[in-house]
């Protein structure tokens, strides 16, 4: 019960804090709208009108990854800059239980992206919002956000040791969009990329969301994304413990 309360309070606090930050308003709303507009005109120019809902949906999903990336990657650095990383690490609960709700909040912020690109597509471009499996659509979004939050835990933990975390965040936005097939189908990518995409939970989450919205079976994607999220959680906890210990030994926790 105490753990559930800790997770809920941290998640809610982080969500409120990020909602008020200009950077996250941009990455979760403005940037996805720019990409949604770009994808709309691109697919329209390529005479693929059937893919317009796909474009709006994909731009929103791209936004979920961007929010997760900058929120999770920056979570530890923000704490460093604010001078609260050391007290948080020294506090009684395991640090993984403090970091996880923060990365989950970063992924949750991505809901703004999805909502804004779908509303934008409907209002500005008149794209009909007809989802083939609405219940599965909602479930697949929740599962994708949780799996991204757990992936964010692994990523954020790795950044404990790497002070230029922002640089990695800047770099990782486009490659994950490519590898997870969020907007470009994996079949167009070189074969050697496929195994890499299979071990990424967002690949399966995105596939489930696309299938639930546009037609297809979303359940295998939901199941695999959940399974991978569980594996990530175990890895994330181990990584947090190992890296936290190393950072304590090297006295680099509070270095900015």
């Amino acid at each position: 019960m105490r753990i559930a309360r800790l997770l809920a309070v941290c998640w809610w606090f982080q969500l409120k804090q990020m909602t008020k930050a200009g950077l996250f308003v941009f990455t979760s709303i403005i940037e996805p709208l720019i990409f949604a507009t770009l994808a709309y005109y691109l697919f329209k120019a390529g005479h693929r009108p059937g893919t317009l809902l796909y474009a709006a949906l994909s731009a929103g999903l791209m936004g979920i990854w961007t929010s997760t990336l900058f929120g999770s990657g920056g979570a530890i650095n923000f704490q460093r800059w604010q001078g609260v990383l050391e007290p948080l690490v020294a506090s009684p609960p395991p640090y993984a239980l403090i970091l996880f709700p923060q990365t989950l909040a970063a992924a949750s912020i991505g809901l703004y992206s999805l909502a804004s690109t779908l509303v934008w597509g409907r209002v500005i471009f008149g794209i009909p919002l007809h989802f083939v499996h609405p219940v599965a659509f909602a479930i697949s979004i929740v599962v994708t956000i949780v799996s991204l939050g757990v992936l964010g835990l692994v990523m954020g933990a790795s950044f404990i040791l790497y002070r230029e975390a922002n640089a990695l965040s800047n770099m990782l936005e486009f490659p994950i969009w490519i590898v997870t097939g969020v907007i470009v189908p994996l079949s167009l990518l070189p074969g050697w990329i496929h195994p890499l995409s299979w071990i990424l939970a967002p690949t399966w989450g995105y596939r489930a969301i696309h299938n639930a919205a546009l037609g297809g079976n979303p359940w295998p994607g939901i199941g695999i994304a959940l399974g991978l999220a569980a594996v990530y959680f175990v890895i994330g906890q181990a990584v947090v413990v190992a890296f936290e210990r190393r950072a304590r030994e090297r006295a680099t926790l509070s270095l900015v």
């Binding site: 200009g22 950077l23 941009f26 990455t27 403005i30 940037e31 720019i34 990409f35 507009t37 770009l38 994808a39 005109y41 691109l42 697919f43 329209k44 120019a45 390529g46 005479h47 693929r48 790497y162 230029e164 922002n166 640089a167 990695l168 800047n170 770099m171 936005e173 486009f174 490659p175 969009w177 490519i178 907007i183 470009v184 189908p185 167009l188 990518l189």
Partner: protein
């Protein structure tokens, strides 16, 4: 006028010129050095080389999926646009970042020539933007279906250098706005990404609504990218002189706008005592 007076005036002019050039080159160099993170390969390589390279790849594959244009279209468009990583973000941080480092007030308290002061800060970013852009082209050449003739490279370099310069002028405008609005990234982020949409980077301008074409034609890079695409296909520089002329003119307009904005916001910052607010 006596010879002695004329010599004194000439000496004074020479000294002012030397000072201006020193502020332009040394000031620009040191302001770039002061971007301490950027000196580290651990920051520079992921942000300035890998990130833009992945942008080129992403849009090339998106282009293949959308069937709009070939790889060359996306490689040229994005390789030129990624110069904005330095031209927009770098300049915005350099100028707007003076506020965070609390050096803005002392800087503006000096009698230094403002034109030299701020244009000098743009110079290293033009060079850096050119390097970022060249790396984007190299990635396109190595990993995608983009094979311009060797003979086109010098002319392509001229167009890219011009485009990088106009993009940097645009970055100066963004940096100037950073003197007024305290968080420069709130302006720099949309400015960079809107270029992807409006400047014909990934969508042919003809496929956009009329009002977006009008906005795009007044943005930096739009004409430079169009010229670069033709040059990459083998056209000579003289055959794209109209596009080059427009790009240069737009760049000059942005430099002028940046200068005016910087002076206006400097005066306003002094009047409202907001130069040191972070």
């Amino acid at each position: 006028m006596s010879v002695a007076v004329r010599n004194r005036m000439s000496y004074g002019r020479d000294q002012r010129l030397r000072q201006t050039l020193r502020i332009f080159f040394h000031g620009g160099y040191f302001s770039y050095r002061a971007l301490f993170n950027w000196q580290s390969p651990r920051f520079y390589v992921p942000t300035m080389l890998a990130g833009p390279a992945f942008q080129v790849l992403f849009f090339a594959y998106l282009g293949r999926y959308s069937h709009v244009r070939d790889d060359a279209f996306y490689v040229v468009g994005n390789a030129v646009q990624v110069s904005g990583m330095s031209g927009v973000f770098g300049v915005a941080i350099t100028v707007g970042g003076e506020r965070w480092t609390q050096t803005l007030a002392p800087l503006l308290a000096t009698p230094a020539n403002r034109m030299a002061l701020f244009l000098g800060r743009a110079l290293p970013h033009i060079v850096n933007g050119f390097i970022v852009s060249a790396f984007g082209f190299a990635i396109g050449r190595l990993l995608l279906d983009f094979h311009p003739g060797l003979g086109t490279i010098p002319e392509l370099a001229v167009v890219v250098l011009l485009s990088t310069t106009t993009c940097t002028a645009f970055g100066l405008v963004v940096g100037a706005l950073g003197l007024r609005w305290r968080d420069v990234f709130t302006i720099a982020n949309p400015a960079y990404f809107l270029m992807l949409l409006f400047c014909g980077v990934n969508i042919p301008l003809s496929a956009l609504p009329k009002w977006m074409q009008v906005v795009g034609s007044g943005m930096p890079l739009t004409h430079g990218i169009a010229a670069a695409r033709r040059v990459a296909h083998g056209a000579s520089l003289s055959s794209v002189d109209g596009l080059i002329g427009k790009e240069a003119l737009i760049g000059l307009c942005y430099f002028a706008a940046a200068y005016v904005l910087l002076r206006v916001f400097e005066a306003e910052g002094r009047r409202r005592a907001t130069l040191e607010l972070v």
